[in-house]
Assembly symmetry: C2
Homo-oligomer: 415 residues x 2
């Protein structure tokens, strides 16, 4: 009684027809289209006989009780960004539905451990600008004060929007009790980058999510007339900031797997006839290793100070946000590699740049791993997001093998 | 019967008291304070017995008729920027008044050639954003369509504002007839940069005004997630633009006396989590030599294309504005050097970065030269603008010697 990966692909297409348009997926959380997708999901899950409920944060849970209360959690999110791709998030959920079907069939009702599918509520944060709503509520890491103040572009408060979907914002953290018996969490996701594409590999095992350091760096020199000020008399803030553009590539290279990005640059006075007095750039640095991340940050600071000195300008750093690397579970990583190998694909381990619900579950202390499937253009959050159907089928097969190994692993620890 | 440079310094202070405040000079053209300064200037000039009138562009002319109609013009501008310096423009005019006095006295009414002082109308363009109003009207180079549309920050049209000061905008070019017999034009000005200060020289001879090339340079790459996109897969527009920051310093150095400035930088999407897709910088390049200016432009274009290729991004150039170098008259340059040397100061030749009324007169074909006096902080358009009094006195003395040489030169060509 194997799973049927072709059914998952067919269901993904069915969902696309139901909730997408010519611009892509439109399942933005807390909208009618999202509610329609959730209703459709419920109809699919009902066929498995699983117990279904929404928790206090709007996360959808489908539970197949096992001989042990210890549970394997399989996660995904059916919400999308506006004009999103057809796979981001819902591949995870629908692969989970297929696994529930297989388990129900195989064990005739009572698997050795409890198996639960969770469809997280508002992973993308597309409407209110804050991602991982449901999973961060569940992990208890949600910033209640910040989230309480969020409004969408029409001025509608998140607190009011979620109420329409049966969620009392002040109680969202009660969803944490869902993790009480969680013994492992697994999630399949389309890679939101081109690593597997470049390596010509269909699947990868995710080692964890990058730690992140986000800073604003401000160089301050002296405004001066662009005609009358000799080059060697200038205190040019853009000269120093521009050098950072190349420096971060060298820093990232030295770090191994880290990445650094300057995402914005603003200049004051910012007029054609004046040397730039103030230049502000934003820098985000990511690494899976906390020490390497710190090293990258130290090197960027040293570079900025060197360039400031060279150009006789000042430099100031301001931290915007940071998060530590979140490492996935070594034993589950091994199982994911083995599951991939059993499909005939070559295992490959890679970090995740973007955060995922899996990171929140891992932060809550649940052993976690993710599996990535190749993205054809290395692009997500876009209607052109795509994966070869043969890779989708391979992914569902490998992910099911991972679920099987995880169930045996949990059962082995219970006994 | 020598001139009295101390009187010029005293008159500058008198003007400062009359039309400045704790924030600096407030003689913005077409304002009551400017009109007050003009009235004060007229009272000073009346003592010389010169014929006085305003031309159709609001330029103030004071004429001492000579045996020849051929005229030496001495120029300045009594208008200032808001919160301006106490010397910029009015030093020129008041030095001219002192020279008129000396000539009237020396020749008892009829110098060998006609000598005329002109106080240009709205050199700064502070209120309507377009400089050299009176002198460009006189040279015939004014852009009538552009200037006709100008408004100040309160929405008042230039056309209406100048009418209150007796100027019919549609007739401003009639002022060109004032140049009919112009045989030479000389102007003294505070240097608006630190060159003479750095060389510890009180005075300099100006070779001309820089030619200028202003361009917007837009690099276009690909927006991509700052976490999931490996460094070697990026098409980062900021990386390429940032390299221009250093390149222009090398280009300016190779050019000799040229200067290059990147005055602004904007990024799109300009968010912390995305690689920069589009980066637009503005570049202004200046050189006194037209070929060298073209070479600097060519080198900047080549550099931008090299950086674009290295980063797999596109680059496009858009010209915002340009003007050719305006070279002053070689014989008058020699006379200015000699005049400076006769005061005991060391002659030094330098180009002018900012444009001046003198450039408009030179464009109209009148042999022209300027003399600069050292600026204590290398700063102008600011209340801290200053020059040592001994340097001011030396400047008036040297400038008078230049006027004397120019009169003899014109007379020699007439005879």
């Amino acid at each position: 009684m194997p799973i049927d990966p072709k059914r998952t692909v067919a269901e993904l297409k069915e969902l696309r027809s139901l909730t997408g348009d010519e611009n892509g997926a439109q399942r933005v959380a807390f909208t009618p289209t999202w509610a329609k997708a959730r209703k459709w999901l419920r109809s699919k899950v009902e066929g498995t006989g699983a117990e279904i409920h929404n928790d206090s944060a709007g996360n959808f849970w489908a539970t197949l009780p096992g001989r042990s209360d210890k549970a394997l959690l399989i996660g995904g999110h059916i919400d999308s960004v506006p004009n999103g791709g057809w796979l981001d998030g819902c591949l995870n959920t629908l692969a989970g539905v297929e696994i529930l079907r297989r388990i129900k069939e195989q064990y005739k009702g009572e698997p050795p451990v409890t198996v639960r599918l969770v469809d997280w509520c508002d992973e993308e944060g597309a409407r209110f600008g804050k991602s991982l709503f449901g999973s961060s509520a569940c992990s208890g890491k949600i910033d209640m004060d910040e989230t309480r103040g969020l409004k969408d572009k029409d001025g509608i408060r998140l607190v009011d929007a979620v109420k329409e979907h049966g969620i009392d914002f002040e109680k969202v953290k009660d969803s944490g009790k869902e993790l009480r018996n969680a013994a492992a969490y697994i999630e399949l996701h389309i890679e939101q980058g081109p690593v597997l594409l470049d390596l010509d590999l269909p699947l990868g095992t995710v080692l964890g999510t990058f730690g992140v350091e986000r800073h604003a760096i401000t160089f301050r020199g002296q405004a001066a007339h662009s005609g009358s000020t000799p080059m060697n008399r200038r205190r040019d803030a853009f000269l120093a900031a521009g050098k950072m553009g190349s420096a971060i590539y060298e820093i990232a290279k030295r770090s191994g797997q880290g990445v650094c990005t300057i995402g914005s640059c603003t200049t004051k006075p910012g007029i054609v006839t004046s040397v730039v007095e103030e230049c502000r750039i934003t820098l985000v640095q990511r690494h899976l290793d906390a020490n390497a991340l710190q090293q990258m940050l130290d090197e960027a600071k040293a570079a900025s100070e060197k360039f400031a000195k060279e150009g006789n300008v000042d430099v100031a750093w301001e931290r915007i946000w940071n998060i530590e690397p979140i490492l996935f579970n070594n034993e589950l990583i091994g199982m994911a590699d083995a599951a991939i190998a059993e499909t005939g694909a070559k295992p490959h381990r890679l970090p995740s740049g973007p955060l995922h619900d899996a990171a929140e579950v891992a932060r809550a202390g649940v052993p976690t791993v993710m599996m990535f499937v190749q993205s054809l253009h290395g692009i997500s959050h876009n209607k052109i997001e795509d994966t070869k159907e043969e890779h989708l089928e391979l992914a569902v097969t490998a992910f099911d093998k991972l679920a099987d190994k995880a169930i045996r692993w949990i059962a082995g620890r219970v006994d």
